[in-house]
């Protein structure tokens, strides 16, 4: 009964609810699908890069794990498994430590090719990025 009264009663005309309808549509605008950004496991390294006037480094895990097993970097090269806990200086890389163990012009491109690694958008924060499944409550 109530429903029929609501439909027939002139007090509840569409015009009266117009602001509500417009607001609802505005909300739809906000919740419409947003593109997922970055590839799963991409790491942004920006502890020092931007302060030194370079773009942040984007490290793609997917690219490296096709070519190397995890142990190569996380045992032989000595990277800790926590984004941000490896203090990597460009001087170390040029001396052949960290990235420089492969990025030495023999296994991969050498440290003189600055913009291939330093390719990130300015202002990115250090950390692991990825698709909709990353970025949980943790400290990745």
């Amino acid at each position: 009964m109530m429903g029929i009264r609501l439909l027939t009663d002139k007090r509840y005309s569409a015009r009266r609810y117009l602001p509500g309808i417009v607001l609802f549509m505005a909300q739809l605008l906000l919740i419409s699908p947003q593109p997922a950004l970055a590839e799963y496991g991409d790491v942004v390294l920006n502890k020092r890069a931007e302060k030194a006037g370079m773009r942040p480094v984007i490290f793609p895990h997917w690219f490296h794990r096709i070519r190397f097993r995890c142990r190569v970097c996380h045992t032989e090269v000595g990277f800790e498994m926590r984004a941000g806990s490896n203090d990597i200086l460009m001087a170390d890389i040029i001396e052949g430590k960290f990235c420089g163990m492969c990025h030495n012009n023999k296994i991969a491109w050498g440290p003189q090719n600055c913009p291939i690694c330093h390719s990130g958008l300015p202002g990115l924060e250090t950390g692991v990025r990825g698709g909709p499944s990353t970025g949980g409550p943790g400290k990745w």
């Binding site: 950004l37 799963y40 773009r55 690219f63 600055c114 958008l121 990825g130």
Partner: protein
């Protein structure tokens, strides 16, 4: 007349919303054999398209399209890719003859509350990692000696060091929680299943 104005406004709103939704959809990459599910380097929100070196980088779809597909993470089943020989990642950069030390030992973690129990396969992990990547600093070798919960994992500790960051994400609950409690005849503590 009034009513048609209202209708027109609603129609305009729906049109706007649709336009917005279509515009916001990620640009799809097409690999040679079909549609891909990976964002190109230039549109992934991380790389600076104006950078001088970006055009030299490989797009994820160029490589990942050819590997066994999944729905989450990199959209790749990495363990399958290595077991089927689709990829042969180098095991060592210091020793050309280095062989991975694969351990074929499953560990069952039974205290998982309402969820199915967790079966941890050493084999799949040791095909990628060294023992020392997890033992003894993160996990003790003695079965059941390391106490941790899902909260730790979700906050990026223990399994969560990799799962949720680079290995398959924590939204794939039943990939780890894979053994139903009803499949055991009597309740057990932590189990080591030698093969």
């Amino acid at each position: 007349m009034r009513r048609s104005i209202v209708e027109r406004i609603i129609a305009a709103c729906i049109g706007l919303w649709f336009f917005h939704a279509v515009q916001a959809a990620p640009p799809e990459v097409f690999a040679p054999d079909g549609p891909g599910r990976w964002l190109p380097i230039l549109a992934d929100g991380l790389h600076d398209p104006t950078g001088p070196g970006v055009h030299l980088l490989q797009n994820p779809s160029d490589a990942l399209f050819y590997l066994p597909s999944s729905f989450t993470g990199n959209k790749v089943r990495w363990v399958e890719a290595i077991q089927e020989g689709d990829i042969e990642p180098i095991a060592s950069i210091l020793d050309n003859n280095y062989q991975m030390q694969v351990l074929d030992l499953d560990v069952m973690r039974t205290r998982t509350a309402e969820l199915p129990m967790v079966l941890f396969p050493h084999k799949r992990h040791t095909e990628w990692l060294d023992c020392s990547n997890c033992h003894e600093w993160l996990f003790k070798s003695k079965t059941g000696a390391t106490r941790f919960g899902m909260f730790d994992v979700l906050s990026g500790e223990y399994c969560g060091r990799c799962h949720g960051a680079v290995a398959f994400p924590l939204t794939d609950c039943y990939t780890c929680h894979s053994v139903k409690r009803s499949s055991l005849k009597k309740p057990v503590k932590e189990l080591e299943l030698h093969k």
